[in-house]
Symmetry: C2
Subunit: 140 residues, 2 copies
DNA sequence: CAAGTGCCTAAACTTAACTTTAGGTTAAAG
DNA sequence: CTTTAACCTAAAGTTAAGTTTAGGCACTTG
């Protein structure tokens, strides 16, 4: 007798990832979840592999990658070893892109930190005018 | 006789910030650039103060703040000291939000780093199958 | 003075990433 | 046996953040 693979419903997956049902269906329709199957009644059943795809989708979305490119990547995974070089390239470029974003984000945070101090002092003074003159020289 | 304040044309500003002319006009129309004036001919002239607003806009955009909220902030600056508390609050919340984004981005980068190594090895092997079995236990 | 350059407006259009709507099936619960 | 819950599809609608289009000034360069 054969082992039965555990699968999840779209509702469980939505819960797990904090995504809406239509969003997951949309990802499926766009081809972002390779090998996602439906049961006899036409209902989606998510395997651990499909969950893995969704984890990767979340990662790539977070890296600022558009759906179109995520789809491309997922199609490459279906091509197997022939697309290894492309996928490697993709992650190399993504790595650089994300590092740049982190750098920009750090600068942004520095400016925001400065503004927090600035407005903190302004609140104490009850006005911006003193802090404006004192702090505008060492602005990050 | 009075000093003449240096100002910049929209073209110069676009160049400086790497923004398109329509984008800058759009920001102006949306009220994101307080006190931006036009000359007798109806042509925008940007003061250092306006440039400062654009710098802040870039910072806030980078922090993921929507145009609507950036506009709100700019309107607050026009209200003067009465809005100090609101602006302070805004930057405090923004600080938390950006720190969370940085954390998420760091996790994303870790996953991408892992994938770079993964595909680097897979390329050496010429196939994914070995690395798949060896590396999937210590995935970040 | 004709042609090019840089600016202007208003309004329509675009794109990405979803969301909403409308109508339908299936399976368990009362 | 009917109501309720959880799922389905296709198609239309939404929102943000611009971009494009069309037509029009004003200055200056050959």
């Amino acid at each position: 007798m054969q082992e039965m693979m555990t699968t999840y419903s779209i509702g469980e997956v939505a819960e797990k990832f904090g995504l809406s049902l239509p969003t997951i269906r949309y990802y499926d329709k766009e081809g972002l979840i390779p090998n996602l199957n439906k049961n006899e009644a036409g209902v989606r059943r998510f395997t651990d592999d499909n969950i893995g795809s969704l984890q990767m989708i979340e990662c790539l979305k977070n890296a600022g990658m558009p759906i179109r490119d995520i789809k491309q990547f997922m199609q490459w995974t279906l091509e197997g070893d022939a697309s290894l070089e492309k996928r490697y390239q993709m992650f190399q470029e993504l790595r650089v892109s994300v590092m740049k974003q982190m750098e920009a984000m750090q600068n942004t945070l520095n400016t925001i930190d400065f503004k927090c101090k600035y407005y903190g002092q302004a609140k104490v003074d009850g006005t911006e005018k003193y802090v404006k003159n004192e702090m505008h020289l060492d602005r990050p």
